[in-house]
């Protein structure tokens, strides 16, 4: 009679594997970046709403985050509140990378929703985003004082991700610097 129990036994094993798989599924949505532990790509881009240029080199010596966004991206709207909180806490500078967007729309967006960014660099062609290995907006990278990429988050930020994935990676000394 035990042979009739075999299928149920095999199914129990399968369920165990699936259970572990589901537990781990969220980790898989963190797409590992080849850039982590490597120097951040160097770039110089025009600053949104001005005729100045922004060079990534100028951030050397400070921890910062670079947030990839566009007005066409609905998830970016969802994370905007969190970005404003991050900017308000003045823990570290927030650089925006406005990706494949329209300058006028981007300025209107910041006007309406508030501007969390210290600087917004304009990547209209998406060339710099390619160097960063951007997969879709929004994405956020954490870069340390030596210009090394420490962490990458794909998808919208929220306060929990910010404190667990970003703040926990910061050394004590990086906080409070502001810009």
């Amino acid at each position: 009679m035990t042979r009739f129990l075999l299928p149920a036994g095999a199914f129990a094993l399968l369920v165990t594997v699936l259970f572990v798989g589901v537990q781990r599924a969220p980790e898989k949505t963190v797409i590992p970046s080849a850039l982590i532990g490597k120097p951040a790509p160097v770039f110089t881009l025009p600053v949104l709403g001005s005729d100045q240029q922004f060079a990534a080199d100028s951030m050397r010596g400070r921890w910062y985050i670079i947030n990839v966004w566009g007005t066409w991206c609905a998830e970016c709207r969802n994370e905007h509140e969190t970005l404003l909180e991050i900017a308000g806490s003045r823990v570290l500078p927030v650089i925006g990378l406005n990706w494949k967007d329209d300058d006028k729309a981007a300025l209107e967006w910041l006007d309406q929703l508030g501007n969390p960014y210290d600087v917004v660099a304009v990547d209209r062609e998406g060339r710099v985003a390619i160097d960063w290995g951007v997969y879709g907006a929004p994405e956020t990278f954490l870069v340390d004082a030596s210009g090394t990429v420490v962490y990458r988050h794909v998808g919208p930020l929220n306060p929990e991700i910010w404190s667990r994935k970003f703040l926990d990676r910061l050394p004590q000394s990086a906080g409070g610097g502001g810009s």
């Binding site: 009679m1 009739f4 129990l5 299928p7 149920a8 199914f11 129990a12 399968l14 369920v15 165990t16 594997v17 699936l18 259970f19 572990v20 798989g21 589901v22 537990q23 781990r24 599924a25 969220p26 898989k28 949505t29 066409w72 609905a74 494949k100």
Partner: protein, 638 residues
């Protein structure tokens, strides 16, 4: 307002399914006529409400109502109306709604056509189906509701994933789900039989046509998906052992075993517990397939929704439905005795081996699909299982299976005599071997060891399958739909094997770097990039290449591959240029801009590849013909 009607209808459908489950299962257990009489009205109510919910979702898509979050995320005002409708099942939430609706539609059909069944048995079948739809309605409402509003409304939508803007892919999910869900009927019949503790030949005759039709839908669904990957993803092949492809293929393999084992149970009253197990497994693998795709457990090109809450919900549902059925099986199956013997070379033996080999093949695919997950769960790191594993382990059981089918379709029940058919079988084998030798030694050069084996087996099976109907027709005997359907399906399998052998053995492919006016060599073919231009579609612009292909200096094809840039999703898509010819496909896909005016071009010439999909459609056609055989019609089945 209208979205709320859909939301409300979905809640009512959930309540109706609850009533259907409750009165169906308990009514039969208590043998209460009034409870049992409540089941069919509950099915009708559920069908109406579920249809209303789906209709509402279609309407909000057609109306471009971007205040509905799901519409805003998956459609756009520039999207053509046909794709706005297809966008309903373009993502997770709508797919589930469609899945549930198809299940309810099948249930409705079962309720309408099962009036001749014993009332208690029919109530149990409908009760089990109600439990499954209850799970899906609850899953949709609590984790994946497509009717939720977006406040403020989006000015325009984010557009349907351009990958999905394609006619074959618009039809792929409904077909696939119809197959998956169709196996739920066999599953419900199995559960009802186990609850009753009784299973006779009428049971198998009832279950068989439903299962065969489900199997036909699944065949078409898989073929459409495979065809889409070929020309839309620009992958240039027909099968890649991708986890999601495997997820649909495993139920197909087990379903194929099931329709054969049901034949034995119907005709001879044998294999009862085995048939029950296959009925449970076919639907379990369908659910598992849905789970793997929807939970984000497996990372694949197809996986679009990764959400652990959803994963836990489906897992719990799997435990209730599959775990429950398997427990019932362990308890009740030992009671079902098969009392009849058969000789070793009788049809029963052939079908037994057919079942064993198909289940072994499905097991091998399951092992390969789950291995990365198991390795990950045990902390052994990432493991990727590709065709180096799948090709050999799949061929090992399936090659003998082909030879067995060529002989087995001529065997008779109970007695092990092939009789006068022996000559016909041998003759078709000899023709198969001769064709293979001619092809390998003459027309097409450059074969592997498997090439002649594949051709010989395929041709043998094609001829052997047609012997019986041709013979009956010549002798003026009647041809039942069962016989015709079986012959078509098996001949199609032979055709499938021949075309796959040709594709695998004689494909020419190369990645070229071409500027306008340049020519590249691909085997005996030459690809010349004649022109590059920009064209504009309704919601994209595209770079379009014009490629002329020559064989030994003679022009044989003109291709227009495109690289499309979809505006809203900002996604670049490859639209392969394919010239479909009678005996081969000439294929080109535009790749990357290599600078200095040069583009990478993926060039392929694949013989007989279209016959792979044609064969799959013919197999499905054979299934449908066989399922409509007179002996399954209600009037004669009663």
């Amino acid at each position: 307002m209208i979205a709320e009607i859909g939301h409300y209808a979905l809640i009512l459908a959930l309540l109706a399914s609850l009533a259907q489950t409750f009165f169906g299962l308990l009514g039969a257990a208590r043998n209460s006529d009034s409870w049992i009489a409540t089941v069919r009205p509950a099915v009708t109510a559920q069908f109406l409400m579920s249809s209303l919910a789906l209709a509402v979702l279609i309407v909000v898509f057609v109306q471009n109502d971007f205040s509905v979050e799901y519409v805003a995320a998956n459609s756009n005002s520039a999207l053509p109306v046909a794709y706005r409708i297809a966008a309903v099942w373009g993502a997770h939430e709508g797919s589930l709604l469609l899945w549930a609706w198809i299940l309810v539609a099948w249930t409705f059909a079962v309720a309408a056509l099962s009036k001749t069944l014993p009332a208690g048995f029919a109530a149990r079948v409908l009760g089990v189906l109600g439990l499954v739809s209850l799970g899906f309605h609850a899953f949709t409402l609590f984790t994946s509701n497509p009717f939720l509003r977006l406040d403020p409304a989006a000015p325009d939508g984010r557009d349907l994933n351009p990958l999905l803007q394609d006619p074959a892919l618009a039809a792929h999910p409904p077909m696939l789900y119809a197959g998956y869900v169709g196996f739920a009927v066999a599953f419900a019949f199995a559960c009802a039989a186990m609850l009753e503790g009784r299973l006779d030949q009428t049971w198998a005759r009832w279950t068989r046509p439903w299962t065969t039709v489900a199997w036909a839908f699944l065949s078409i669904g898989i073929a459409l998906g495979s065809w889409w990957a070929y020309y839309e993803l620009g992958w240039g092949g027909y099968w890649f052992w991708d986890p999601v492809e495997n997820a649909s293929f495993m139920p197909w393999l087990v379903g194929t075993a099931l329709i054969h084992s049901l034949a034995v149970t119907e005709k001879r009253g044998l294999f009862k517990s085995w048939t029950l197990l296959l009925a449970i497994l076919a639907f379990s693998l369908s659910l598992l397939g849905t789970f793997l795709v929807r939970s984000g457990v497996l990372v694949s090109v197809h996986s679009f929704a990764a959400d652990p809450t959803r994963g836990m919900f489906i897992l719990a549902f799997l435990i209730i439905v599959i775990g429950g059925a398997l427990t019932l099986y362990a308890w009740r199956a030992p009671l079902l005795r098969s009392e009849a013997g058969f000789e070793f070379t009788a049809r029963e033996s052939f079908l037994l081996f057919n079942n064993i080999l198909l289940v072994v093949a499905a097991g091998a695919v399951l092992a390969g699909t789950m291995a990365p997950l198991i390795a990950d769960a045990l902390g052994l790191g990432t493991l990727s299982v590709g065709r180096q594993y799948f090709d050999p382990v799949f061929l090992l059981p399936t090659l003998p299976l082909l030879a067995l089918s060529a002989v087995g379709i001529h065997s008779s029940w109970k007695k092990g005599r092939l009789g006068d058919r022996r000559k016909a079988i041998l003759l078709s084998l000899v023709v198969g071997v001769l064709v293979a030798l001619v092809l390998v030694l003459g027309a097409w050069q450059g074969a592997t060891l498997l090439t002649p084996i594949g051709f010989a087996l395929g041709v043998w099976l094609m001829l052997s399958a047609l012997v019986d109907p041709i013979d009956r027709w010549r002798r003026g005997l009647s041809l039942s739909r069962g016989v015709v359907g079986m012959a078509i399906a098996h001949a199609a399998l032979g055709m499938f094997v021949v075309s796959i052998t040709a594709v695998e053995s004689y494909t020419r492919e190369r990645d070229l770097a071409l500027a306008v006016g340049e020519t590249g060599q691909v085997g005996e073919f030459e690809y010349r990039l004649r022109d590059l231009s920009t064209v504009e579609g309704p919601n994209y612009d595209a770079l379009r290449g014009e490629i002329v292909v020559y064989e030994n200096g003679r022009e044989i094809g003109l291709l227009h591959p495109e690289k499309r840039n979809y505006w809203v999703q900002r996604q670049v898509m490859t639209e392969a240029g394919i010239d479909m010819q009678l005996t081969r496909d000439i294929f080109a896909a535009l790749g990357e801009d290599l600078g200095a005016g040069r583009w990478s071009v993926r060039a392929q010439v694949r013989p007989l590849i279209n016959y792979v999909w044609l064969a799959a459609f013919l197999m499905a056609l054979g299934g449908v013909i066989a399922a409509t055989d007179r002996r399954y019609r209600p009037e004669s089945a009663g």
